[in-house]
């Protein structure tokens, strides 16, 4: 038996996979003060459902895979450790200046961000290595020792060390580590060249600072999780999801907790890829995960999940860059809770304000007064007020209608139904733009892609989104409402290793590159032989970050080889770069020199074979034949109502229709065809 447990902002989702690969899904409330309690609560629900004790159930478990928001929450709420930043003398403002840049150049209301570690806790180490990796200024031991004393006096709880050019010559960072071990024993620290050996000091410093600041807290959290699971009877392996879409043993992740920042959301594309492969031939997949307040979009391109180098905590240029590649997820403030409003010029806006979980949409009757996307869906008849979350919550339809009338319909001079449809249209367009942005960045044509709708609210407008994008196929997986947790069951044990080594296509340093690749291979092999020893199969994937001479933004190109020997291989590599550049940016420049900058190798250990299990059907509910719903183009129509869980496999249906389950509601207009496939997913042709 395996457990996948994803702690989100509101709910802790649990999917249990039994030994026959049947899945069951549970939701417990997240308990922010003690998130492990939410995990245990969800597990208790599963045990109750099986009418066995928690310890009995856990005793059968071989693996628990956990996605956690603990790290990101600590950063957002400022509850990380009191961390010192040690940097090269003369360069104290790396975290203050960042890399410049701004959004909204006319906005003088938004504040310039505070550095991740204040200047007051920044210490300049007397030393300097130059760009050739030679020591320009030797490390002044006396000066370094003085810093140790100041760290003690300042009650520092963690230390981030990032010196210029440590990636080419780590001697000074290593010496500082010795001194820290000696003078501040037990205080966790992070060295930049070990954590993130990448060019560009701000990104490396920021990674180092974030990582160090999380070590005390995540060490405690992951230690506590393992301990309490063991105490409750679990003797299997505890794995935690990483921002790169893989998983690591909990105690390994505690050593580099920065990788836990996007722990949960990174799983959505893993699940999306699998579900898309089951029901579609399309080379690309767009995965949209709709939450209450955010809409997260991610991609699969030719079977690979593209990474972004620029992962921000918070808004770009106003938050902090993690400095690590992570699964490229574009998150916009658009969800069921997004508020609709009309500005003084008569323009309808949806969001970015959100009613959140509290008070929530007007129809929740919990104090919300401004209409949201969910209210529009109630007014349009898409949501059944008496069967929301399987009937566990009654919705106030009249309140939704009144709010839409007051805040949107009357100011726009439209009937309520049209106003509600307009709210859904604008929300749809916001979501479409989010998808367009990320597909453009990654060079993906939506017309050659399948759209996966995940999240409980995905079904409400995914048909409209798919149509607007020109996606021929939309898939709503049966586990869509817990997409991240289901992805966790499909993910591999992975670890990624990186190195910076600069060379160019006209003077390609084969020995240098092969040396780097060999070193990366050895690190991967060590991981495969260690934590990956129990895997069904393992592989190593290589990639290079490259750009045309004098560009500054690299793109990642999968390396179709593990050594570069012949001229042919060099040409193949160059060809792969030109093709990727053209794919992303519409142009190639075959006459230009290519600069190869960063090299990565990913060890991927496949822990389990076979596809995703099927969700065990619940009891379902009685559905009456039709319901009146309103569409922008067609007006009010009678839509057939189907029970998602009871739909026959393979039978083709036509809209207008509403497909309901306790976890989600899917809307299909008259132009849509759909069927339930053998995988359990709803496959729709918008």
């Amino acid at each position: 038996m395996r457990f996948a447990c994803d702690t989100g902002g509101t709910f802790t989702d649990l999917i249990v996979e039994d030994d026959q690969c049947a899945l069951t899904m549970y939701k417990a409330s997240t308990t922010p003060d003690d998130p492990v309690k939410g995990v245990l609560d969800a597990l208790s629900l599963a045990a109750e459902d099986r009418t066995i004790s928690l310890s009995e159930m856990l005793g059968q478990g071989e693996m628990l895979i956990h996605g956690t928001t603990h790290a990101i929450n600590a950063i957002i709420t400022g509850n990380t450790a009191r961390t010192a930043f040690l940097t090269t003398a003369g360069h104290p403002d790396i975290l203050v200046l960042r890399e410049g840049g701004r959004i909204e150049p006319f906005n003088f209301v938004a504040a310039y961000p505070e550095p991740y570690i204040p200047r007051a806790l920044t210490f300049e180490v007397p030393e300097r290595v130059n760009s050739a990796g030679d020591v320009h200024t030797p490390l002044d031991e006396a000066g370094a020792l003085e810093i140790m004393e100041r760290l003690k006096a300042a009650n520092i709880e963690a230390v981030a060390v990032c010196l210029l050019w440590s990636i080419y010559n780590p001697a000074h960072e290593l010496r500082i580590a010795d001194l820290l071990e000696e003078h501040l024993p037990g205080v966790p620290y992070t060295l930049s060249h070990r954590l993130n050996p990448a060019l560009r000091e701000y990104r490396r410093a920021s990674s180092t600072a974030i990582d160090a600041s999380l070590k005390p807290l995540m060490g405690r959290y992951l230690g506590g999780l393992t301990e309490r699971l063991t105490g409750a009877g679990f003797s299997g392996r505890t794995l935690v999801l990483t921002s790169q879409g893989g998983m690591l043993d909990a105690h390994d992740l505690a050593q580099k907790p920065i990788h836990a920042i996007n722990s949960g959301p990174s799983m959505a594309p893993i699940a999306g890829r699998t579900y898309a492969e089951l029901d579609s031939e399309a080379p690309n997949v767009i995965i949209a995960d709709t939450g209450g307040t955010t809409y997260d979009v991610s991609l699969v391109r030719d079977g690979r999940i593209p990474l972004t180098k620029e992962t921000w905590i918070g808004q770009p240029f106003r938050g902090h860059m993690t400095g690590f590649p992570s699964i490229d997820i574009k998150s916009v403030g658009a969800g069921g809770g997004s508020i609709a409003w009309v500005d003084a010029g008569g323009l309808l806006h949806v969001g970015p304000q959100s009613a959140g979980a509290v008070p929530g949409p007007v129809c929740y009757g919990a104090g919300g007064t401004e209409p949201t996307v969910t209210d529009a869906c109630v007014a349009l008849g898409y949501l059944d007020p008496s069967y929301f979350l399987g009937g566990s919550m009654k919705l106030d339809e009249a309140a939704s209608v009144a709010a839409i009338k007051e805040y949107v319909a009357d100011p726009l001079g439209l009937p309520v139904a049209d106003a509600a449809a307009a709210i859904v249209s604008v929300a749809t367009e916001n979501m479409v733009q989010a998808i367009s942005d990320i597909t453009v960045d990654q060079g993906i044509d939506p017309a050659e892609s399948v759209l996966i709708g995940g999240g409980g609210a995905a079904g409400l407008n995914s048909v409209f989104i798919a149509r607007r994008l020109g996606c021929p196929t939309l898939i709503i997986p049966e586990t869509g409402a817990g997409l991240s947790a289901s992805g966790a069951l499909m993910s591999d044990l992975t670890n990624e290793y990186r190195a910076t080594f600069f060379t160019t296509s006209d003077e390609f340093d084969r020995d240098g590159v092969n040396g780097v690749l060999e070193a990366l291979r050895a690190e991967c092999q060590e991981f495969i032989d260690g934590p990956g020893a129990a895997a069904m199969s393992s592989k190593i994937e290589y990639a290079v970050e490259a750009r045309y001479a004098s560009q500054v933004w690299e793109i990642e190109v999968p390396l179709p080889m593990d050594r570069v020997e012949s001229e042919d291989q060099l040409d193949t590599l160059a060809g792969a770069f030109h093709a990727m550049h053209e794919r992303i940016f519409a142009i190639r420049d075959p006459g230009s020199v290519i600069e190869y900058v960063g090299w990565t190798a990913t060890a991927r250990c496949h822990l389990r074979d076979g596809g995703p299990g099927r969700l065990s059907a619940g009891e379902g509910h009685d559905v009456s034949g039709t319901r009146k719903v309103y569409f922008a183009n067609a007006g009010e129509v009678d839509a057939a109502v189907y029970d998602f869980e009871k739909m026959m496999t393979g039978e083709e249906h036509f809209g207008p229709a509403i497909i309901e389950s306790p976890f989600t509601t899917v809307v299909a207009d008259a132009a849509t065809r759909f069927k339930r496939s053998a995988s359990g997913s709803l496959v729709m042709r918008p």
């Binding site: 003369g90 360069h91 403002d93 203050v96 200046l97 960042r98 890399e99 410049g100 840049g101 701004r102 959004i103 909204e104 150049p105 006319f106 003088f108 209301v109 504040a111 310039y112 204040p118 200047r119 007051a120 130059n130 760009s131 320009h136 210029l164 060019l199 560009r200 000091e201 701000y202 003084a344 010029g345 008569g346 323009l347 309808l348 806006h349 100011p411 726009l412 001079g413 439209l414 307009a422 249209s425 604008v426 367009e429 916001n430 733009q433 367009s436 960045d441 600069f502 045309y548 001479a549 004098s550 560009q551 500054v552 933004w553 992303i584 940016f585 519409a586 142009i587 420049d589 230009s592």
Partner: protein
């Protein structure tokens, strides 16, 4: 929406189409940013992309630096139509003439009409990018002392055809490759701009096909009306009045000894929802490269207004209708005439126009306007060139090694990394490591300077010191630094920022002050020291929240002595506020 023309779009349809146009312009911008070659393009984001109507009205702009976007594309599009009355599908033009609407000659622009299969011209797309080199007589794109365009040496392209039936006109490209330093880099940027324009054209043709051209034209009219109303509402919030403010650029060769003073007279009429910016009371054009082109003069005045009001007002032809400008023919700011040089038109004196305008706006009432942003272009932002000893190849590029410049605003402290007001902070700051790989330099120091900010209720940014020098070679560095003499002023009793400066450190470790407008050789073992200044404050510093002053003291931005003398906040030895003494200081 279907293909039928519509009489009137509702608020939702309007929002959706606005989103579509914005999406297209940002797709263009993204392409240009990520494929551009020169540092000034891909690091300083010194580029812009926009969509104009067939009547040459500015419709949608990708988020790019302010000095490029508000005015100019309209004039350039008109000159394209004047010089090429019979536009065909697949035509595109290279344009950089400051005498025909371009900001300055360094901003090469691809301008392309969007023409459907029936031959109807519906929109025009424009992609503009600052080049690392444009073939000037000296290796910099800011030739501050050029007597005229001939001494400046730039190749000028007044809407010259470079694409015919989607095929490039190679004659022009060959010319450029023979007259522009680092021709491969230029060609890379040219391709990036062309790619951007083509993407805009392709997307607009698809949009027209999808929703119908008539609907799109209905949209543009309504969108302008909507934007105009938003602008008029925003102006209605500003108190009525007329105010003048001045801002003075330091003297450089070719200017009077006292420098160049820009005067901006602003009149706000909230009832009518209109603002007038009068720039008539300014000097005649001068024999130097500082003259501000018509495009930049207009844009600078617009920025001064938009920096001072509700930032959510859309920036397009509709909102611009509410700002009336009065410009002087053949003025140093205004409408300079050929062959006078506008080489440094986007920065130095243009910044002074913005500064004077937003300080005049501040005079209308608390809550409006802004302090003066720090001046351009310090040696940390120099164009450097030489031979790289590591590969024996020549290099030329603009560095962005360190800048601050932000000014205090009505509701917030400075945005630290503004670069200069016309850039709006969009510029990236170079990684020291990246610059040391690209360029044979070693960066010794990059740090903020305490007690250098323009104090205020909301303070300006502190200054920044950057020291760097060549490695195993000599290096030529060009810069036109302002703010050594005439420092950025505060607004509404806010105080000015400290002076900017520039030095050379010799091999004997002696500091020599350099001329602020220089092309200097830095020898191996010498370093260039740049003091790039911060900006002026907003409001009386003695009304600043004591907690904020304490924070600045703890962070080493402001000394305890300055906290006491300037801000009237007493900080005790244990770094806490001495409330009693603070009261005493502030009531004195």
């Amino acid at each position: 929406m279907n293909g039928k023309p519509q009489k009137q779009l509702d608020g939702a349809q309007l929002a959706i189409l606005a989103n579509r146009f914005e999406g297209i312009s940002s797709k263009m911008g993204n392409t240009l940013l990520r494929t551009g070659r020169s540092g000034v393009l891909n690091r300083a984001k010194d580029f812009s992309c926009c969509i104009l109507t067939a009547d040459c009205e500015l419709l949608a702009v990708a988020e790019s630096l302010p000095i490029h976007v508000l005015s100019g594309p309209d004039i350039m599009a008109r000159s394209m139509m004047e010089f090429h009355p019979e536009l065909k599908k697949g035509d595109a033009f290279l344009h950089n003439s400051p005498y025909h609407g371009c900001s300055h000659p360094a901003d090469h622009t691809i301008i392309m009409p969007v023409i459907d299969d029936a031959g109807t011209h519906h929109f025009t797309v424009l992609a503009k990018a600052h080049q690392a080199d444009i073939g000037n007589s000296i290796p910099t794109t800011y030739h501050g002392t050029a007597r005229d365009v001939y001494e400046e040496g730039a190749l000028i392209f007044p809407a010259v055809q470079v694409l015919k039936d989607y095929e490039t006109v190679d004659d022009i490209i060959r010319m450029c490759q023979l007259r522009i330093r680092v021709p491969e880099q230029w060609h890379g940027d040219f391709l990036a701009m062309l790619g951007s324009a083509l993407i805009g054209e392709r997307e607009l043709l698809a949009l027209g096909e999808e929703v119908g051209w008539d609907t799109l034209h209905t949209f543009t009219d309504q969108w302008f009306d909507y934007s105009e109303k938003r602008m008029s509402d925003a102006i209605a919030e500003v108190p009525k009045g007329t105010a003048s403010a001045q801002s003075t650029h330091d003297a450089i060769p070719g200017t009077p000894d006292e420098g160049i003073t820009v005067t901006s007279k602003v009149t706000v009429n909230p009832e009518a929802g209109r603002i007038e910016v009068d720039l008539m009371d300014n000097a005649d054009q001068m024999n130097c490269g500082l003259n501000v082109s018509e495009s930049c003069t207009r844009t600078a005045a617009y920025i001064g207004v938009f920096n001072s009001i509700d930032h959510t007002v859309p920036k397009n032809e509709g909102s611009l209708r509410r700002i009336e400008l009065k410009l002087k023919d053949a003025g140093v700011v205004g409408i300079p005439q050929h062959p006078i040089s506008c080489s440094a038109s986007t920065t130095n004196l243009a910044d002074r126009i913005v500064s004077a305008t937003q300080r005049a706006m501040a005079e209308m009432g608390d809550g409006f306007g802004m302090g003066e942003v720090g001046c351009f272009c310090a040696p940390s932002t120099a164009v450097v060139s030489g031979i790289d000893p590591r590969n024996e190849k020549p290099y030329v590029n603009q560095l962005f090694l360190g800048h601050t410049a932000g000014a205090g605003a009505p509701h917030q402290d400075a945005w630290l990394t503004m670069l200069h007001v016309g850039n709006g902070g969009m510029c990236f700051i170079d990684s020291v490591e990246l610059d040391e790989v690209y360029t044979p330099i070693h960066v010794h120091t990059r740090r903020l300077i305490p007690d250098s900010e323009g104090a205020g209720r909301h303070r300006g940014a502190p200054a920044i010191e950057v020291e760097y020098g060549p490695v195993d070679c000599r290096m030529e560095a060009g810069f036109v630094h302002d703010g050594n003499i005439h420092v950025p002023q505060g607004a509404r009793a806010g105080l000015p920022a400290a002076r900017s400066n520039q030095f050379k450190t010799t091999r004997n470790k002696e500091r020599e002050t350099l001329d602020q407008c220089s092309i200097v050789w830095i020898e191996d073992g010498e370093t260039l020291v740049s003091i790039a200044q911060g900006g002026g404050g907003y409001g009386d510093p003695r009304t600043r929240e004591p907690e904020q002053v304490l924070h600045d003291v703890r962070e080493g931005i402001v000394s305890r002595q300055r906290a006491e003398e300037i801000y009237g906040v007493a900080i005790s030895d244990d770094l806490s506020i001495d409330a009693a003494r603070t009261n005493e200081l502030r009531s004195a």
